[in-house]
Amino acid sequence: MNLLLAAMLPGLQAAGFLLLASLWLIGRTPAEATLRPFTLLSDGTSLALALLLFVQVQAGLGPTGELLVGEWFEMHGHPYRAWLVVDTLSTTMVLLTTTLIATVRLFALRYLHKDAGFFRFFLLTQLYALGSLTVFLAGSLDLLLAGWELVGLTSVLLIAFFHQRPAPVRNALRVFASYRFADIALLLAVALVLHQGGEARWSELDRLPADEGALALLLPCLLVLAACGKSSVGPFFGWLPRALEGPTPSTAVFYGAISVHAGVYLLIRSAAAIAASPAATALLFLLGLGSALAATWIGRAQTDVKSALAYATLAQLGLMFVEVSLGLTTLATLHIVGHACWRTAEFLRAPSALRDFDEWRNALGVAAAHAAQASAAASRRAYAPALFQLNYDACVDRFLIAPLGRLARALAWLDGYLARGSARARLGGPP
């Protein structure tokens, strides 16, 4: 029963997505009037299933833990089986996901009325929901990777929602590049685990022996890096403000709901593996704390509502990383749930900031409001990096992309030189 429910959740989303995509491909894009009840029905059903699953697990009915769906494919005699995990953590995350996605889509049904991209938005969020549910229900790391990639891809397409303007597209590409860079770590982690002959299930990761040397050190670090990429923590925090280019509901579903919390979820799942390696734990702690402090510092200088909210999100994500590094996984789960709901609500009502400030000023009086306002920063050296977001783009462009570009051009020249040389050799001319 639980398995059926757990399989139906992403299955329904997949079916819905395929239906919409097929209609779109054959040129019969559904109109708003049809899409509206379809969306409500789809979200309502998912929410009901998620709630049912949650209740089942809490009441102890039905099997829990890793449930086998079936065999995915076989290679060289090694079967790849699809596992789903049904336990408190997963069902909590699934319930949270379905609730928040339903809320945001409900918001978007009104907000995106008459927009040219109405259908595209709901198609993408359907795929996004599929990806998120796969991430949270995946019983093995490779299935999680599939959902992870889907979430990344649809997030980027939602950032570039207004694809007729250059800025959203430019920013979306940079976000995509950051995602891909970080996903290398996840891919390597999956490859490492599978190389050991296992199935990359969570239970195997928990049982990872401590004296395996390189594996025990490398695997948790790779997972930490992958989580950093998705949650924009640590070395990847630069893509955070770029994701504000999409419409308000998409930034809500992004920062608020799910996308950035998927990284924390990955860490909670791998908590045992991380705890087994002191280096990984230290890395996680330092990255989390550093990001939290940096984000608070940058957030204080941000002058627009959505950026301020984005950096506040980052600060809390850093704290969640710290909580996981200290082994407080239940606290981290609670933190995710509360934080996701809070940020979704905040992002959706971000345009109300003007009115809020006016009301507070009227209620508190001019003097008190003035006193509560910002003070001038103490020093220029402290303020400048906060305003320019720690010069992240400058560093990445000047010290990473530019050298890579030069290297690429040098290699291209070398390639051309060698090609000319070999051509001359083939034609028998002078060297």
Partner: protein
């Protein structure tokens, strides 16, 4: 990009000289304001810097004209987007603006052709729009070649018109598109017949051979350094420097959203910006690695000196300063405009004074540009020599041939015919076609578009006036004074339909009371009057005697709640407080969110009831009378206060001022005697959720705010016996039993709230109750009529359901269209209400009550037009330009908007500030200039305008359309080409009669033509004509 030769305020070739707008008969020709005298003409300089500084100041002033004039978004004022060009005739201004702003100033031709196909523009309109073109022949008919004259050519250029083709897509059209595969399908039948049987490719080859539209390759000089860089290296310099500029500008303009401010903010934008860019902890982005060197050079200079040095370093001669600075400023118009607006009017900054100047901002911009140019190793002035890339001459030939090919098709010239034409004839053809460029064709389409609108409005109006409907006799049961707003038109109509004894009247929404008002719940005063007026009086609202205690308790509770809310919302973005609050508050936050999405009206009702219990609003009164200054003790509020600009304000009004205000509303409408027992004065405003553009929906005559306090003050004045005594002398006779009551209409949620009901004498309570019941019915019907425009849900079943749906809409968190504001405005009728009563005007008309019979010398007309022209004209033009080019003149779609610094909205995290109206407000709008119908003779109107050049400019330069309605004969004369010509109905429009407004309107969501509402149960006609 501008051409370097047109760096100054020069017009493109072929444009009539600036300032030669048509003048009113009897007035000297209007002249463009003279440009500032060149520096050499002034007094001798005192030191070496004075001359260039003066020139710089002149250049900056020139630049500032072109910047958007919208201030911080909490006060949104509708004004002419091209206000800087208002001294030019409309068509010239649009042409110039299209070039300078690289924007559309008319709707595109395909859009107009679509409207033609839908029947919104008829063939007669196109004929009328082309009648001024001579019908001289271009060539005579010969064997196989049909005749062609200029007028027919023009008509063919309008419809079907040449297909747009440019160097970028000509090859695609010729090779992969179907240009050469088949003839156009939209050709006139005769022309298509002549082409049948021939091959398109053959015609194209002939066109290639004849080479009529030879395109002279020209290499344009760059207007600013970024152009040169783009042409030479393909790099977008703006993408490099804007993130830094915008971050600095936002930090300095911020009104309190950020939690820290720049440390040197008080030293000004330039010094602070340079300090930030020179900080040790700042790393220059890629492409600006040379910034530190440049900063060292500019370190000690002030902003003006730095700007001069930068202009010198870029090698720009003084004559071109204005042009290059303008191009630079218009690359980031929103932020530059906001900086300038706050520099000029510091009082506009809502919460905090900021030190910003346009010169500082441009100096920073040029500094960054210099640093970026250093990366390419360009020496001083090298950028001026980089011309635009050479065009491919072969492609230009193909492009010329493609244009001729299209032209030959619409003319119906088969290949032999084209071969048979002389070079001279082809040259004549070419000259004629180039005379009618894209903009001039669009202008003609606009003329046709507006002409059809005039026919559809003025002809039915004339029919309506010829057979005036019966009016009720005797004393009206009530009189209601509304604002002139077009949204009130439908409410007035429904009110008059339900109770024929009610008379409504329209006056500018500030009701003659220009004041700075501090409400009970407000922390400081706001100006409630049109923006062109500076209020001289201060009025505040107090709790009544007996309620002071509950009032103070209320203020304390509000302060506590706000502190809590602020901590929860803002301080929880910090680290520790966030950690403590978000897990706890998180899930709770979903409840109000879902409530506002699923049941917004119920949730709002619940909150309202909660507020009544916990924070009951005390009975309040407004203090409007100025007591003589007897010292500070007896006058706690101070009989002298200061407004934000530092000007001294008088507390309250004295009797003469009160009488003048009341008379200014009642006299133009000719409400001077035989008033109803109850006169209701209704101010209006709007409230909605999640809407930074809230002020755009409020009352424009009250400076972008709600007009409820104005109504309240007006009624206090009008009920005062001393004022009534004074009014007798002014010609307004208010009987003893006439009572004024004030109300506030929320146009978004369609609710009415009455003020000071305890002051209404017992004798009139029943009248007020009856009127309020009638108004509630009228609001129900109004809600139903409004609902026909909202298409995201099926139309409501009945009036009650419509009212609930409208209420829910105003409270819905996700609604980007809480109402359409002035989104369908088209007409302004300045005439007695009796003339327009019973006409269904579809919420598209501003209705100003004015009776020419009561106005002997035209002073009342002048008074009325002083409000109507700027306010209604400004609204109309703001909507016009935001509709024709929403990306450049409007603020785009609301979806990605991000509120920045509490001064404006931008897209994403570092984008330009968007000014103008959002797409969701203008999507229904018909882009036309407003049609004024004025109850006056042409001579009277001209006499009034002759003395007021600022108003005359609107009419004279064709920014609005004016029709006069003769008070005696009801003949209509339209202002056209510099004089008034009689309006001729062309007989295509009828005036349908309907039972009531709803039967005409329900079920249709498009713009509706005029109709006459003729209920069966109307009382018998009477002679009395009331204003």
């Amino acid at each position: 990009m501008t051409r370097a030769g047109e760096a100054g305020p020069h017009l493109p070739k072929g444009c009539p000289a600036a300032g030669e707008g048509r003048s009113l008969p009897g007035m000297p020709p209007r002249r463009q304001p003279q440009p500032p005298a060149p520096p050499g003409a002034g007094p001798p300089p005192l030191d070496g810097q004075a001359v260039p500084r003066a020139a710089l100041a002149a250049a900056l002033e020139e630049v500032a004209h072109w910047l958007p004039a919208q201030g911080p978004i909490s006060v949104f004022v509708h004004h002419n987007t091209l206000h800087a060009l208002q001294h030019l005739p409309f068509d010239e201004a649009c042409r110039l603006a299209a070039q300078v702003y690289t924007a559309d100033t008319y709707l595109a031709q395909p859009h107009f052709r679509n409207l033609y196909r839908q029947g919104r523009i008829l063939a007669e309109d196109l004929e009328a729009a082309t009648v001024d073109c001579s019908d001289a022949p271009l060539w005579q008919a010969r064997a196989g070649i049909p005749a062609l004259d200029r007028r027919s050519l023009l008509r063919l250029l309008l419809l079907p018109g040449l297909r747009p083709v440019c160097a970028g897509n000509v090859d695609w059209h010729l090779e992969e598109g179907d240009w050469l595969k088949r003839w156009r399908r939209d050709l006139p039948a005769a022309h298509a017949e002549r082409l049948r049987g021939h091959e398109p490719r053959r015609l194209y080859d002939v066109c290639l051979e004849r080479n009529v539209f030879a395109i002279q390759p020209e290499r344009v000089r760059p207007g600013r350094p970024a152009d040169a860089v783009r042409w030479r290296h393909g790099i977008d310099l703006d993408a490099l420097i804007h993130p830094l500029l915008i971050a600095i500008a936002a930090a300095h303009l911020d009104q309190g959203l950020a939690r820290t401010r720049p440390p040197d903010a008080d030293a000004g934008l330039w010094h602070s910006g340079v300090a930030l860019l020179g900080a040790r902890t700042f790393l220059a982005p890629r492409g600006l690695e040379r910034l530190p060197q440049r900063l060292r050079e500019f370190a000690g200079l002030g902003a003006d000196a730095a700007l001069l040095a930068a202009l010198e370093a870029l090698g720009i001669p003084e004559i071109e300063w204005a042009g290059v600075l303008r191009a630079e400023a218009l690359a980031l118009p929103g932020w530059t405009g906001m900086v300038h607006r706050i520099e000029v009017e510091p009082g506009l900054a809502p919460y905090r004074q900021v030190q910003v100047r346009l010169a500082d901002f441009l100096a920073l911009r040029l500094l960054l540009t210099l640093a970026a140019l250093d990366a390419f190793g360009w020496r001083r002035g090298h950028w001026c020599t980089v011309h635009s890339p050479a065009e491919d001459p072969q492609r230009n030939r193909r492009l010329a041939a493609a244009r001729l090919f299209d032209l030959a098709q619409i003319l119906g010239l088969p290949p032999e015919a084209l071969e048979g034409l002389d070079p001279i004839e082809l040259e004549r053809l070419r000259l004629e076609v180039e005379r009618h460029g894209d903009l001039s064709l669009r202008a003609r389409w606009l003329t046709a578009y507006e002409r059809r609108h005039e026919q559809r409005v003025l002809a039915p109006l004339a029919l309506h006036l010829a057979h005036p409907p019966a009016t009720a006799s005797g004393r009206p049961s009530a009189q209601v004074i509304f604002c002139i707003d077009d949204r009130e038109e439908s409410l007035r109509r429904h009110l008059e339909e339900i109770d024929p004894g009610v008379q409504t009247c329209g006056a500018a929404g500030f009701f003659g009371v220009a004041m700075e008002f501090q409400g009970l719940d407000a922390a400081s005063g706001v100006a409630l009057c049109p923006v062109v007026v500076r209020p001289r009086h201060r009025v505040h609202e107090d709790a009544r005697a007996g309620d002071e205690h509950s009032f103070r308790r209320r203020q304390r509770l509000r302060a506590h709640w706000s502190r809590l809310a602020r901590t929860t919302r803002i301080d929880s973005r910090g680290l520790l407080l966030g950690w403590l609050t978000t897990p706890v508050l998180g899930v709770l936050a979903l409840a109000p969110l879902l409530a506002r999405l699923l049941g917004p009206a119920h949730y709002a009702g619940l909150l309202g009831r909660l507020r009544e219990v916990v924070l009951p609003r005390p009975r309040s009164q407004v203090q409007i009378t100025r007591t003589e200054a007897r010292g500070d003790d007896s006058d706690p509020t101070g009989s002298h206060a200061h407004d934000r600009g530092g000007r001294e304000l008088l507390a309250g009004f004295d009797v003469r001022e009160k009488a003048a205000s009341v008379a200014s509303v009642l006299k133009p409408a000719r409400l001077t005697e035989r008033h109803a027992r109850l006169v209701l004065v209704v101010g209006h405003g709007a409230d909605s959720r999640n809407n930074p553009h809230l002020s755009a929906y409020a009352c424009g005559a009250c400076g972008g705010r709600g007009g409820g306090p104005n109504a309240r003050v007006f009624t206090r004045m009008a009920n005062d016996p001393e004022v009534r005594a004074e009014l007798h002398g002014l010609g307004v006779h208010l009987a003893e039993d006439v009572v004024f009551v004030a109300a506030y209409h929320d146009t978004c949620a369609d609710t009415i709230e009455y003020f000071d009901q305890e002051d209404v004498p017992a004798t009139h309570r029943a009248d007020l109750a009856a009127l309020s019941r009638t108004l509630e019915d009228a609001l129900d019907r109004n809600a139903q009529e409004r609902s026909r425009r909202f298409t995201e849900s099926p139309p409501p079943l009945d009036a009650r359901a419509a009212r609930r749906a409208i209420r829910a809409r105003a409270e819905h968190l996700a609604e980007p269209r809480p109402e359409y504001g002035h989104g369908t405005n088209a007409i302004c009728i300045v005439a007695p209400r009796a003339l327009t009563r019973g006409l269904f005007l579809d919420r598209r008309a501003f209705l100003v009550s004015y009776d020419a019979d009561g106005d002997d010398d035209g002073s009342l007309l002048a008074q009325v037009l002083s409000a109507a022209f700027p306010v209604c004209g400004g609204i109309s033009l703001e909507y016009y330009f935001s509709t024709v080019d929403n990306e450049r003149f409007g603020c785009g779609t609301k979806l990605p908007h991000n509120l920045s610094g509490l001064v404006g909205v931008m897209n994403g995290c570092l984008g330009d500030l968007r000014t103008g109206l959002p797409l969701q407000t203008v999507e229904l709008h018909e882009a036309m200039r407003m049609l004024f119908v004025i109850h006056s003779t042409p001579d009277r109107l001209l006499a009034v305008l002759r003395e007021r050049p600022a108003l005359a400019e609107f009419m004279q330069n064709d920014w609005i359309r004016v029709v006069t309605l003769d008070p005696c004969t009801h003949a209509m004369q339209r202002w056209q080409g510099g004089h008034f010509v009689p309006f001729m109905a062309d007989g295509t429009t009828a005036l349908p009669h309907v039972q009531d407004s709803l039967s005409w309107a329900l079920g249709r969501s498009e713009h509706l033509p005029l109709a006459r509402v003729q209920p069966a149960r109307f009382p018998p006609p009477a002679e009395l004509r009331l204003a």
